[in-house]
Amino acid sequence: MTSGVLPSRSPELWWAFGAMGIATAGYLVAARSGLPGPGDLVGHSLGVAGFLLMAFAQVGYSWRKRPHRTGPGPAYRWLALHVFSGLVGPYLVLLHSAFRFRGLAGILSLLTLVVVLSGIAGRYWYRPSMDANPRRALWYLLHVPLSAAIAALAVFHVAGVLYYATGLR
C-alpha cells in the first residue's frame, strides 16, 4: 500500500475510473438533447443501477469481513469490490440526480459525498499501523453509520418514488 494519490497496487480504482468513464461517455451521448431527468429511462436506469451498486457496497463487504467467515473468496477481493461499487454506485446516482440537489435527494447526495470521502481516506490514507489510532475509530463511527443512514434514506426515497411517480401516468 502507498500513501500516494492513486495507489499503483489498487486495480479496483482503475476499474472504477474506467467504469465511471464509460458511464460518463454514455451519459454525454444521452445528454445531447438535454440532461436526462431522474425519471427518464436513462436517468431512472442510472438511479436503479447506482442504488444496487451502493447496496452491494454496503452489504457485501460488511457481510464477508466478519472474522468468523472464511469465504467465498479472499476478503481483500471483497474489499476491492466494495471500493469499486462504492465509487461507481454513487457516481451513477449523481448522474441520476441530474445535478439537482433538493430536499431528500440533496441530503442523500451530501451524506454520500461524506461517506465516499471517508471511505477513500480509510482505505488509502490510514495505515495498518494506525489501527490503534482513535481517528480510525472515529472513521468507523462516520463511515459505517452514515452508510446506514444513506441506506435508510435511499429506501425512503425509493418508497416515495413508487408512491408518487410510478404507475400513475
Partner: protein
C-alpha cells in the same frame, strides 16, 4: 471499543433515526420532502380548479399525485382542472386531439422545475405538425446533420413557437441573406414559410407557381415583386400581369396596352420584337422616328400620316374628293395598309 460492533450498533441507530426523521418530515411537509423541485409559478388569465398557478400546490402533493391504490391517475387529475384541454381530446383537429395517447399528459408535460421552469418537454414525433400549418419536412436535420430538436423552434413556459429561434438558426447559415430578408419581410417567418421548402438549399421551384422565373426575373429578390406580401396566401395570390410591377417602367405610358409580352421578353426591355404591320420604310425617307407618325405618347395606337410628305389635310381631302373616296381621312392605313398611294381596300363613296 471494538470498532466493528460499535459502528454496527451506531449505524443501526443512525439508520433508524434517519428513517424516523424522514417519516416525520414527510408527514409534516405533506409529502413535500419528496418534491424534486418547486412547481411552476406560471399564471393563466383565469384560475383553474380554484388554483392560480401550480406553485400554490407546492405542499399539496395529493392534488396531482393520487395514492397507488386510489384508482386515480395523474393525467385524470390534470384534466379535472384543465377542462379546456379535456375538451380538445375528442377533436382530432386540435393540438391535443391530434396526439396519440394524449391522455398521458406526462409524456409531454413536466413539473417540479422551479417557479420559472418549462412545463412542456416533448419529443414532438407524435404530433402531426402539418396539421397546424407548418410541415417538418424541411426540418429533419440541422445544417451540421444533427437531428432537429423541439427546442430549436419552441421554448418558454408554454413551449410556444418562437420565431426568434428561426432567425438565430438561419442567420448562422446565411447571415447576409437573412439580414436582408428580415429587413424586407419582417420577423413573422411563419406568415410566409410553411416548412415545405428548405431554406438555403434553393429547393423552392418557382415554376410550380405557374410563373416561371426566367431572364432578369431570376436575379430579382423576392421582395422585388412581392412588395407588400406578408402572408403565404398573399404570396400565392401575387399578380402575374407585367403591368402590376412594370407600369412605372412603361416608356410607352400605356399607349401599347398592358400586354408587354407581346413585344418584350424577360431578358431585357431592349430588343423588343414588334411586328409593325405598316411598312415604316414605305416612303422615300427610309426608316423614320416613331414620333413622326405616333405624335401622341399617351396612345401609341393613334397615328397620323400628315406629319410628312405631301400629306397635308387639305391636299389629301381634295384628292380623295376627286376620287370620291371616304369621309374619314384620318385612318389612312385602313385603305393604305402597304403605305402605297393606291388603296388596297376600303369604302368608296359611290
Amino acid at each position: 471499543m471494538q470498532p466493528h460492533t460499535g459502528s454496527t450498533r451506531w449505524g443501526i441507530l443512525v439508520a433508524l433515526v434517519a428513517l424516523g426523521g424522514s417519516a416525520l418530515s414527510w408527514g409534516l411537509s405533506g409529502g413535500a420532502v419528496f418534491s424534486p423541485g418547486g412547481l411552476s409559478g406560471a399564471r393563466d388569465s383565469t384560475s383553474l380548479g380554484g388554483i392560480g398557478s401550480h406553485a400554490e400546490l407546492d405542499r399539496r402533493c395529493g392534488a396531482c399525485h393520487p395514492g397507488p391504490f386510489s384508482g386515480g391517475t395523474m393525467s385524470a387529475r390534470c384534466l379535472a382542472c384543465h377542462t379546456d384541454i379535456a375538451g380538445e381530446l375528442p377533436d382530432s383537429g386540435t393540438l391535443h386531439g391530434s396526439l396519440e395517447g394524449a391522455r398521458a399528459c406526462l409524456a409531454c408535460h413536466t413539473e417540479h422545475r422551479g417557479r420559472d421552469g418549462a412545463l412542456t418537454r416533448f419529443e414532438g414525433s407524435g404530433i402531426a405538425h402539418d396539421r397546424f400549418g407548418f410541415s417538418l419536412a424541411a426540418h429533419q436535420e440541422r445544417t451540421g446533420g444533427a437531428p432537429f430538436l423541439c427546442t430549436d423552434c419552441h421554448g418558454g413556459r408554454d413551449f410556444a413557437f418562437d420565431a426568434a429561434r428561426c432567425e438565430r438558426c438561419h442567420r448562422d447559415e446565411q447571415p447576409a441573406f437573412v439580414r436582408r430578408h428580415v429587413e424586407a419581410w419582417g420577423h413573422d417567418c411563419r406568415g410566409c414559410h410553411d416548412g415545405a421548402d428548405r431554406f438555403g438549399r434553393n429547393r423552392f421551384v418557382h415554376d410550380s407557381t405557374g410563373f416561371p422565373l426566367t431572364g432578369e426575373h431570376r436575379i430579382v429578390e423576392c421582395a422585388g415583386c412581392h412588395t407588400t406580401t406578408r402572408s403565404l396566401a398573399a404570396f400565392r395570390d401575387a399578380p402575374t400581369a407585367c403591368a402590376a410591377c412594370h407600369q412605372k417602367d412603361d416608356r410607352h405610358r400605356g399607349g401599347f396596352g398592358s400586354d408587354c409580352a407581346s413585344c418584350h421578353d424577360t431578358r431585357s426591355w431592349e430588343g423588343a420584337r414588334f411586328d409593325h404591320t405598316f411598312p415604316i420604310d414605305h416612303g422615300e425617307r427610309g426608316r423614320v422616328a416613331c414620333r413622326t407618325c405616333h405624335v401622341s405618347r399617351e396612345d401609341w395606337k393613334q397615328y397620323t400620316c400628315y406629319g410628312c410628305h405631301e400629306h397635308t389635310p387639305a391636299r389629301i381631302a381634295a384628292e380623295h374628293r376627286e376620287e370620291g373616296v371616304g369621309r374619314d381621312l384620318t385612318d389612312c392605313v385602313r385603305c393604305h395598309a402597304t403605305g402605297r398611294e393606291e388603296g388596297e381596300g376600303g369604302e368608296r363613296e359611290d
